[in-house]
């Protein structure tokens, strides 16, 4: 009897791992690193994490988890509330039909698939932030953050792959 309770607890904890890891990554990502000029181009960790888990373990990244991740990100960052939530939900919807094909590809191709998804996410974020402040934002900073997000994808994906091997097998 108690064996069953433990097994269930264990499987619940494992299925929550992607969500918990993503939130932890977002919180740890807030630590000031003191690297010159890095803060404005800090990679969008939420987009990377949500994309990764939707491709490899979509069963463990339901829409409500995506919503909560966006909410945590928006509350902790000083930006407009709700924009991050919406953009991550769009990423969720965009991957809903395609993830089966992407997941079968090798790592490099998945990274390639990340390029347009992240680009869409940044254009949407830029658009909604512009709407909210009622002025066209300079696209330069967003473009640089996009490049750094794409560049950091392999490192973070590697971290998640290790976590996936440790927790989810």
């Amino acid at each position: 009897m108690s064996q069953m309770v433990w097994t269930r607890l264990d499987s619940t904890a494992r299925s929550l791992a992607p969500f918990a890891l993503t939130v932890l990554l977002i919180v740890f990502g807030m630590v000031p690193l003191g690297v010159p000029n890095f803060a404005p181009i800090m990679p969008a960790l939420g987009v990377i994490a949500v994309f990764f888990w939707l491709v490899y373990r979509p069963d463990l990244m339901p829409a409500w988890a995506v919503f909560l991740i966006g909410l945590v990100q928006d509350l902790l960052g000083g930006g407009a509330l709700g924009v991050g939530v919406f953009v991550l939900l769009v990423v969720y919807a965009a991957l809903a039909g395609q993830r089966r094909y992407i997941a079968q590809a090798n790592f490099f191709l998945v990274w390639l698939a990340f390029l347009p998804v992240a680009a869409g996410a940044f254009v949407l974020t830029w658009l909604f932030n512009s709407l909210i402040v009622d002025a066209l934002l300079a696209p330069g900073p967003a473009a640089f953050q996009y490049l750094s997000t794409v560049a950091f994808y392999p490192a973070i994906a590697w971290l998640f792959l290790q976590a996936q091997r440790a927790f989810l097998r």
């Binding site: 630590v31 010159p36 945590v72 930006g79 939530v85």
Partner: protein, 294 residues
């Protein structure tokens, strides 16, 4: 949008697919509702934000300390190699500053004498609270940092945040043990400043780039690159005379300011507790005494 056949066995029954789609739509509507609430800027959003900030501040503080130490050690090793050159440079600098110190002392005395001659009202008391920068969300769409001091340490909304070099930003949200400082470069930052020796009034507005713009400079003012920008104290928000930056790009179309602050080495912020009573009251506080008089 997506065919049910694309997602595997979870969407076997059409009813299940419909509930899932409905739930997703519900979440999207939720996101838009959040945007609307955020735009309306209610007290509620601010309170939830400060609670979130308070929750992560201790964790971040725990991590930020060792990272600062590592950074300082690495920087220290780098500096060892150029110790002699630095020493010589610092000695020259110190000599130059000693000269400026005598000038400042003389001016201070003269200023005090003139103030007493003209019976000028003394400036409000200025007190600084020092806090560690524990969080920086980063990103291209907002520039703000989280510090590990809040209302229990005497932090209040609107206080100026400065480093040893100059103004860094303004306190916008205050939790119990953490506060958010909106940096000068954020799109929402507006600070009244004085430009150059002529002390022309202007508003310095951030636009998420590294160099904020100067707005509302009166026509006919001559501003050149290299002009110093200081806070004006207009509006009673900031103490007057705090150094902000220098004018870098002086053209007809856009004037920009390079802030003095070294963003990469902003480990601590000093928050200026500037006691200017009754000038800057929040709507709730301001409403009450007026209502009583009526």
């Amino acid at each position: 949008m997506n065919k049910p056949s694309g997602s595997v066995s979870r969407l076997t029954t059409p009813i299940k697919a419909w509930t899932q789609r409905f739930a997703f739509l519900f979440l999207v509507v939720g996101a838009f509702a959040l945007m609307l609430i955020g735009k309306a800027d209610t007290v509620l959003v601010e309170r939830v934000r400060t609670v979130a900030g308070d929750a992560v501040a201790p964790i971040l503080e725990f991590i930020a300390r060792p990272i600062d130490t590592i950074g300082n050690t690495v920087a220290g090793i780098g500096e060892l190699t150029e110790l002699r050159a630095r020493n010589a440079a610092l000695e020259r600098e110190s000599e130059r500053l000693r000269h400026w110190q005598t000038v400042a002392r003389r001016l201070e005395a003269e200023n005090a004498a003139l103030r007493s001659l003209t019976d000028m009202v003394p400036d409000p008391r200025l007190r600084f609270i020092t806090a560690r920068v524990v969080g920086d969300q980063g990103g291209a769409f907002a520039r703000s940092v989280l510090v590990n001091a809040g209302s229990r340490d005497g932090i209040a909304k609107g206080q100026a945040a400065v480093t040893t070099r100059g103004v860094a930003g303004r306190v916008t949200e205050v939790g119990q043990r953490s506060s958010r400082v909106l940096l000068l470069t954020d799109i929402n930052s507006r600070i009244p400043v004085l430009v150059g020796a002529a002390r022309d009034r202007a508003i310095m507005a951030g636009d998420n780039t590294g160099q904020p713009r100067l707005l509302y400079l009166a026509a006919g003012t001559e501003t050149r690159p290299g002009d110093r920008v200081v806070t004006s104290g207009h509006g009673g928000m900031f103490p007057p005379g705090l150094p902000v930056g220098v004018v870098t790009q002086a053209s007809e179309t856009a004037l920009r300011v390079q802030p003095f602050v070294d963003w990469a080495h902003m480990e601590f912020l000093r928050l200026a507790d500037y006691e200017l009573p009754s000038l800057l009251l929040s709507p709730g506080e301001g409403g009450r005494p007026q209502g009583g008089q009526r």
